[in-house]
Symmetry: C2
Subunit: 283 residues, 2 copies
C-alpha cells in the first residue's frame, strides 16, 4: 500500500495503471474510519483491480462554527485498517495542497444543496461537491463508493457526476449500524453515555415511520408529528429536521405515493449532530 | 473526421485512443470558425496525435438579453474547415444533451468571474466555466487551446484547471487580426460598414496605451483617459470598459510596475460588443 500526499504524483501513477486497463475503485473519506467506511472499501476491493482511499478532513465542507478542529483524526489506525483491507493507494493531501493561496473555484449543485442538512449547514455541500470534483480529477476512478447514511451527499454527488459528465459509476452502500440500530458515524465518539443511549431514537423514529407507512399511513405530516412525539421524550435530543421528501428532488412531499420517498432526520445531542435516513420503496 | 453528437460515445472512443498513449489536443468553440480558431486548431494538430474540436453555442454563457438566438451558425462551413485542418473528431452536442431537464450543477470561479466582462455580463463566466468542466470530462485532453483575445476566459479557465486538478495543459494562442488590426471575432459580421471602420479604434487604443507606457507613462488613469478621448471621436462607439489590471487577479492597478499589466477594453457598436486586449510585459 502506498501513501501519497502529492495529487500530481498520484494522478501520474494511477494514469499508468488505468492505461493498462485496470479498473479503479475510489472511496473518499474524512478518516476516523469505522465499519461503515470499511464496507465501502471492501466492496471496492471486490469490484476493482486497484483501490484508492482518500483521507482528507476537507475544510471547505465545515462551517465556521462547526467541528473542523476537533473532528476525530486517527491516521495511524486508519492506515492500518486500509492496509488490512488491501487498499492499494491512500491519498493523504494537506489543506494547502488542496486549497492553495488564491484558490477560487467552487462547484454548486443548486437546489439539492440547500435542502435538509443544507438549511443548518449552508455551504456544506458546496464544499463537498468541490472536493469531490477535485478528487475525481486526481484519481479518475471507474467506480466511486459512497454510504447511504449520508444520503443527501450521495444524491448530490450522483447529480454532479451526471451533470458534469464524469465517466464514473456511483455505488451507494447500505448504512452500517450498531446492534441497537445507531448508524455508525465518526461523530458518535462525541456522545456521552446518556446521549449515546438516547441516540437510538433516530433509528427508532425511522422504524416508526416505516411501520406507520406499512400500516397504511400516507400523510407525511402525521408521520412527522409521531416522530416528534417520540423524540420529545428524549431529554438531550434537539430536533434539527425531520423530513419526508421526494427521492430525486429532495423536496417535501405531502402524501406518500407508490414511488416511495426518503425519510431523513437530523437530531442534535449537545453539540453533536447526528443524521440518519430510510429509503421507502414500493409502497 | 468523425462528427459525434453523443458525449458518452465520444468519451468511449477517446478513452480507447488515450489508452494507446496518443496525446490529445482539444479546441472548444462556439462555431462560426475564423482564422483565430484555425490558428488554435493548427497548433493542436501540430502538437498532438488526436485533435478534437467542439462546436457548441453554449446557452449557459449567454445572458437573457444577449445574442444567443442570432449568434452566427455556419455548421457546414465549420465542418469543412475542420476537415481541411485534419481534425479527427468534431463534438457537436445538442443543448438538451448538455443541459437535460433537472440540470443543476454550476462551476463558479469567484472573483475573476465578476471583473471586466463579468460586470456587464453577469453569469457569463459561470456558463463558460461550467461548460468547460463538462467538455474536459468528456474529451479528457492532454492539451487545451484557447485564444488570447478572450483573455479573461483563458485566465479563468487556467484558474479552474489548476483549482479543480484537471490534468490538462492550457495553451493560449495569440490574437489573430485583420490587416487594419481588428481582432477576429465571430461577432464582427454584425458590424455595418461605418461600425467596421470605427471598430479599429480598439486596436488603436491598445497601441496608444502601449506607446504611452513605452514613453514612460505609469499612471493607469491617465492612460485610460487618453483612450477615452480617442474612442470619444468615434460616433457609434460606446465604451463598456477600459481597464488596466493585474494579470493574475484582474484587479485594477493604479501604477504600472515592472511586472507589467493587462490592458483590456470592451466597446459597443450598436448592439455589437467587441473586446480586445494587450499584455504588457517587462516594462
Amino acid at each position: 500500500m502506498k501513501v501519497i500526499r502529492d495529487p500530481e504524483k498520484l494522478n501520474r501513477l494511477l494514469k499508468r495503471l488505468s492505461r493498462s486497463g485496470k479498473s479503479m475503485g475510489f472511496v473518499p473519506t474524512l478518516g476516523a474510519l469505522h465499519l461503515g467506511h470499511l464496507s465501502l472499501i471492501k466492496q471496492a476491493v471486490k469490484d476493482n483491480k486497484v483501490v484508492v482511499v482518500s483521507i482528507f478532513v476537507n475544510p471547505a465542507q465545515f462551517g465556521k462554527s462547526e467541528d473542523l478542529k476537533k473532528y476525530p483524526r486517527f491516521l495511524k489506525k486508519d492506515l492500518e485498517l486500509c492496509r488490512k483491507c488491501q487498499v492499494d493507494f491512500v491519498f493523504l493531501p494537506s489543506d494547502l495542497i488542496m486549497y492553495p493561496q488564491g484558490y477560487s473555484t467552487f462547484v454548486d449543485v443548486k437546489g439539492l444543496s440547500s435542502r435538509l442538512c443544507g438549511v443548518t449547514r449552508p455551504g456544506h455541500f458546496l464544499g463537498v461537491a468541490t472536493v469531490v470534483v477535485k478528487l475525481l480529477n486526481i484519481v479518475k476512478p471507474d467506480n466511486l463508493y459512497l454510504g447511504q447514511k449520508d444520503v443527501q451527499q450521495s444524491i448530490i454527488i450522483k447529480r454532479l457526476v451526471e451533470d458534469l459528465n464524469f465517466p464514473v459509476k456511483v455505488k451507494v452502500m447500505p448504512t452500517v449500524r450498531e446492534d441497537d440500530g445507531l448508524a455508525l458515524s465518526s461523530r458518535n465518539i462525541y456522545l456521552n453515555k446518556q446521549q449515546r443511549k438516547e441516540a437510538t431514537v433516530l433509528f427508532k423514529s425511522l422504524w416508526l415511520a416505516k411501520s406507520l407507512i406499512q400500516h397504511g399511513q400516507r400523510d407525511a405530516q402525521r408521520i412527522i408529528s409521531r416522530i416528534k412525539q417520540l423524540i420529545g421524550h428524549k431529554k438531550q435530543a434537539k430536533i434539527d429536521y425531520i423530513a419526508i421528501v421526494n427521492l430525486k428532488s429532495l423536496e417535501n412531499i405531502k402524501k406518500i405515493n407508490q414511488q416511495g420517498c426518503l425519510i431523513a432526520l437530523a437530531v442534535k445531542f449537545g453539540k453533536t449532530r447526528l443524521i440518519d435516513n430510510f429509503l421507502i420503496n414500493n409502497v
